[in-house]
Symmetry: D2
Subunit: 456 residues, 4 copies
């Protein structure tokens, strides 16, 4: 309808190119600090695009040591105006008025924020800033002061990548190759090994892929989800991504399975898109296929084996409060698994299943990290979005990675659109984990192990 | 080339519509304060789009009194967390560390900022927030506390409407009518009375119109400029906008005249786009028509008569330091003009010209406002952009508005792309006004009046 | 989805412009005949675009007399190769074989057809050929040989404007002004007097407008239809196009009324789009608004008064077979109407209604043109499309045009998607006019006039 | 600018899909002949889209034998109306008038043409007709009557794929994957083995790829050309397509080499696009890179070895008129090459070069096919376009295919934009082959062989 507007994006990205054609980078060598200061000065107002462009030209030629030094300068010399802040505090006396606090807020803003806003004028400025943060994050460990710089970028991106500015787009075989190659590259859950495999994920009538884009990063998906349409909740990943499989007509599908969600931009870590994505894709699918009845995931349990290892150590350490407390014969089986890997015999596998599945149920309902959130990161994400844990699937992923992290288990989270909000609030406010009753029962323990109620 | 991306914008605007189809506004009546608090809570994370949508539904049904009350609540109840700030200040003691200042910065951020960011998720959220600020600005006079709210919106828009996110688009007769009607509506300098007049401004080969757009406000130009291509610097507006006039082939043009610049969104006042616009349009034109030699404006002098009235009063008051000091016979002529309007006789007009043109030169070079910036707002804009004052044109605009503000005078500012940066810096740092030497000479006074050097 | 392809059209139209930039029309004067012959020669293969471009440059500078002469040359010198055809016929003897007939077909093709195909290479070639036919059609009356030229253009356009190449687009307020102005210009049924009136036809939620476009004529609608969504079959046009009226939400509409259909290109006369248009728009609307129950028209009866005049003359001439045979008092009333126009008194209007409405029913069912098709051109169109006549509305259009052609009457044709095909076939094969039973009854006559069955 | 129009294409392709949604293929089995006849009847006018859609549903389910039978029916039962034609011929007598010939032309048109025009209404109708002709062409050999059907499709496609309707598009890495995969598939000259190789052909700044598209076949390139920008005329293909090579900035390029041209649609064989393509790409490149000085090709000589084999046989047969007449020692070397393939020793290769290169020059200038056109098909194409033969490059392509067809030789044709038209005419009218003087000299023979002037 409003196709006039469709050129806007092209214009954004081409602005860059055309500018570079006419702009000549100044001949004399410059250091980033000088350019950054110029950009923050009066000069920056008149020649912002040119200075921002120069900045990235120099930046992109720097080696790792130079980058270390530059980020350190960013932390130390482009922070807030301490002197002004101290003067205001001195004036405040006992109790700050609103006016004083607002003034404080303004003066306490690190100069970096305005610097980053001005750098955004460079051709492709936004993606360059995202990449800059990616570099910065790698250095957080060895230079803690960089956390201050990171906080500023996080704050800016939190504002710029506001949900209201994101665009959901379906990814198909008619999508530009330059975007598709990024889907291949960024797929983090179930690897895509070739263009042909990619095609199998997006072209059949029972497959969908959706991504969020930001207008200023047109060729860069921010996050994407892969969806399988079908009739039953899948209990294993192989049939879902098998190259030869029976294809369902989308009109006959009864449910949609989100079987892979991948973030694309490390420079945007901490800016959450996933929760929006799943809900909007669900709505999108419902509009297209109103007969859909259920939305589930098929998800790994990436923290399970790590937790199991800890549990075994705790039990072995005879800590009285180790939970759950495992009978010796179970403990031996688990230790054997942890030490020697997956058993070949079907009998032993059956023994493992009897032990691990109930433990896994317990793990989901009770195992917590140090913030008292679910220990499992994927569970944190989906439960935090308001999903509930629906089913635990034994031997659902035969990949080495899965055996190494999830003991081959995958689970289904169920997104019930009518319940999402309540679940989310119960989870956020009370730490309540919603799960199918069969899972809750299993987690209560069994003959095989004793549940010691330690966690609220 | 990258036309995939062209759908992004359409997707942004259609997101709104499709959402509204499936979302039902809750039946029970709600007040904005309740919704706003929910939006800032956990609930807001799960149901942000729905709550933001509800917010604007309620907001748009409110009458003027309810709006007054709501804005007041915004000011008083969604500010910074005073208690936390005071605690931090108490802890700081004599001198704040960087860490403390950064924490202060975070805690001192008014809750409104996050509220506005979350409201942006509503369908058409960005334009609705811009309109909300428009309403707010109308109330600033009677409720000074609203200035605090305005500061937050200004801060947000300063970040969101960053130059790096704006898109320059040429406006033509093939532009959607929904955009063109806004050009008609927002033209603030030389009114466009009909669609036929609009066509005369954009369709002939020697006319151009460019606007900045933001991806999230696709049908809403932010600012636009109208350009006439020609061979000589125009000295009057009528020939430029005459319906019947000889049309130049664009290939034969030697110069481009910016004869009208209009801001479109009152809700974005204080967010400056004009300086970018003129420079980018100049580059755009140069790329298309490399033979162009000059870029000038044809601009009104909207502060001149107001200043003249003040000058006459000052002179009449015999303030010794009135500048310039006018001879009595000139003072009488000016007072006659101010009291009785434009004289009919050509002789009298000639007398006026001899008096007013040198005064106007002085006005540009020396008359300042209370911030020691040029008294004339249009001069402030173009000189601040790095242009120089090139020529003063007598009887250049016969409209009543022009006689009432500018004494019928229009001027040309010259944008010399090689000089813009230096001019801007000299102006910003030293208040230096660049003008053609003929104007500087005139401003030095003449037999007709004495220049008293009072202003630096 | 496939937005890459969206540039194709832009590319078509821009090809023209860019070419013109680099192509210099040859300096020496040329006549069209020479250029046309060159275009048909070897030279034409190498330099077709340039020659076709030259052709239209010269063509567009010609005056009316030159055009007369040129079209005559087209007729006389660019026809089929008579000599070859005669030789083939001579060879054939008594009975032509398939091979001979196919060879005849090739040789009998007028050279004009290849000429026109090559002219299509010029920038904007297709629309220029359509305009050329428009000029040609104006001259058909005074130069019957031009019919041969016209037949070639008709044949070409029949192939080029094949339904498979047309694109249905909704016209909205976001459509480019360059297209909208053509809707204003080409509206042939109920005039659009201003841009504001246009907006009333396309922007409210209960109004739609759709047009067919051809990719090579991107800014030129071929035909368009205006639609009113509502709850009841309208019985008058004024409420439909009134500037102030109550607007229905499209979700609440139960039926769609096609109240205006206009062809746009005289140069495409004889190439039928209307039947496709109505059916496709009906499908389009059903997809968007599945609750729609009926599709009707609100149509004028433009042949009615002309026929009535003939009928009165026939009756007055006492032709025994005049049908219907009118009682004298009715004849007098009709003659009074034809001579003095619409009566002012309500009594007289009531008398008129009692006479004219049954006559109008008879007119629709029995009055034929010389091809034994319905006398009324609009009836021919809709009945030929498979619609049936549903209702006759008295005093449904108070415009002077309507009184002068249709006696103020409008009718509704009903498009029942399940019946269209049968109706069309019955009409095409047997001349069967489908009408509501109430109309059929009225047409059987009444106390007021005798039906003499003369027409099958 | 005119991006409204950009939706037209999308609309064309989506028309298909949406239609299929609502249209139900009739349940009873139908044969194509019945559907085709219905489509040509009155019924076809009312229900053309549905019937055309049914037609292809049935057609696409047919096996090879059914297709044989169906094409035979097309040939025999959908030809011209022989009876009418014979009647007209009988009436004509000795000499046909223009009127009679025009009537003959109409009646002699095979019914198939209207059938194909109506089939074009089906979703994706145009590409389906192109594919239908592809099937037909495969059967031409065994059923010569199909030539009549083919003539009709050729005539239609000649009109529909008129140059004026084609769109040139650059192919880049941002082009949809669905188009790019066709570039991989259709590349007929220098195979593209992977997506990575494709990227090397289109992404570097010194590479270009352009294709012609038709609006109704949006995802299907018709023909494409690959271009290398550089500084010198390349004398071998390997450096051009090497994965690792030094990349030139496009601004520094002095010449453009067309190193691969591939037709994509066998169903469009005989519809020539290549000549337009090269000229338009040259213009396109000149507009982007005005500094370009030369346009050349790097082309195979695919007929050379076939001709050489014939030449050897003729010489061995001691035909007195064999041309050129080869000395025995040369004949032996050639026979050895033909029998045993490429010699391994460098000495032998040197001997070969001394013999083959002058023979190749002779081949280009004098070897003709039975239509007296150049024997070499690639030479026919480029010389027919107005290029001249510029250089013969020894050992320019080491692929097995090249050794088997071209003896490893590649040549450069030069497109001199100022000379194209003259060259084309001289070639078309007089069979004149334009070649660099060095090649002409070589072709005059040497000590190594005698030229017997046999060909004009």
């Amino acid at each position: 309808m409003t196709s006039f507007f469709s050129d806007l994006i092209v214009a954004i990205s081409e602005r860059g190119r055309s500018f570079v054609d006419v702009h000549q980078v100044s001949p004399e060598p410059k250091d980033l600090q000088t350019i950054a200061k110029a950009l923050l000065s009066q000069k920056g107002e008149a020649s912002g695009i040119a200075l921002a462009s120069d900045f990235f030209s120099v930046y992109e030629d720097m080696d790792a040591l130079e980058l270390d030094a530059f980020f350190d300068i960013l932390a130390k010399q482009f922070g807030p105006d301490l002197k002004s802040v101290n003067e205001i505090i001195a004036d405040i006396g006992d109790t700050a008025t609103v006016e004083a606090v607002l003034e404080l807020h303004v003066k306490a803003e690190p100069q970096r924020q305005e610097l980053f806003r001005r750098l955004n004028q460079a051709p492709q400025g936004t993606i360059k800033l995202v990449r800059l943060r990616e570099e910065l994050l790698k250095r957080l460990g060895k230079n803690p002061r960089l956390g201050e710089v990171d906080a500023d970028l996080h704050h800016l991106f939190h504002s710029w990548f506001n949900r209201g500015f994101l665009v959901l787009k379906r990814i198909t075989w008619s999508t530009p190759a330059s975007v598709l190659e990024k889907i291949i590259k960024y797929e983090a859950v179930h690897e895509i090994a070739s263009w042909e495999e990619l095609r199998q994920r997006i072209e059949p009538t029972d497959r969908r892929c959706y991504a969020f884009f930001h207008p200023a990063l047109a060729e860069e998906p921010l996050i994407f989800v892969e969806v399988a349409l079908g009739k039953d909740i899948p209990d294993a990943i192989e049939p879902v991504i098998a190259p030869k499989r029976e294809i369902t007509k989308d009109r006959h599908a009864r449910l949609a399975t989100f079987y892979s969600i991948s973030n694309c931009q490390q420079g945007l870590s901490g800016i959450s898109f996933g929760s929006f994505l799943i809900k909007q894709v669900a709505q999108e699918l419902l509009r297209e296929l109103p007969q859909l009845e259920q939305f589930v995931t098929l998800s790994p349990v990436p923290g399970f084996l790590r937790w199991l290892r800890q549990l075994a150590q705790d039990n072995r350490g005879r800590e009285p409060q180790a939970a759950p407390e495992l009978p010796d014969e179970q403990l031996l089986v688990i230790e054997d698994l942890l030490a020697h890997g997956w058993p070949a015999s079907e009998d032993q596998q059956q023994v493992l299943q009897d032990i691990l599945v109930p433990l896994c149920a317990w793990y989901f309902l009770h195992a917590k990290d140090r913030h008292q959130k679910p220990y499992d990161p994927v569970a944190r994400f989906h439960l935090g979005n308001g999903a509930r844990l629906e089913r635990i699937n034994w031997l659902a992923d035969h990949s080495a990675k899965s055996f190494g992290q999830s003991a081959g288990i995958m689970v289904n989270y169920l997104y019930d659109l009518d319940e999402i909000e309540n679940n989310h609030e119960a989870f956020a406010n009370e730490g309540m984990v919603r799960a199918a009753s069969s899972i809750s029962r299993m987690a209560k323990g069994s003959s095989s192990f004793q549940i010691v109620e330690k966690v609220s």
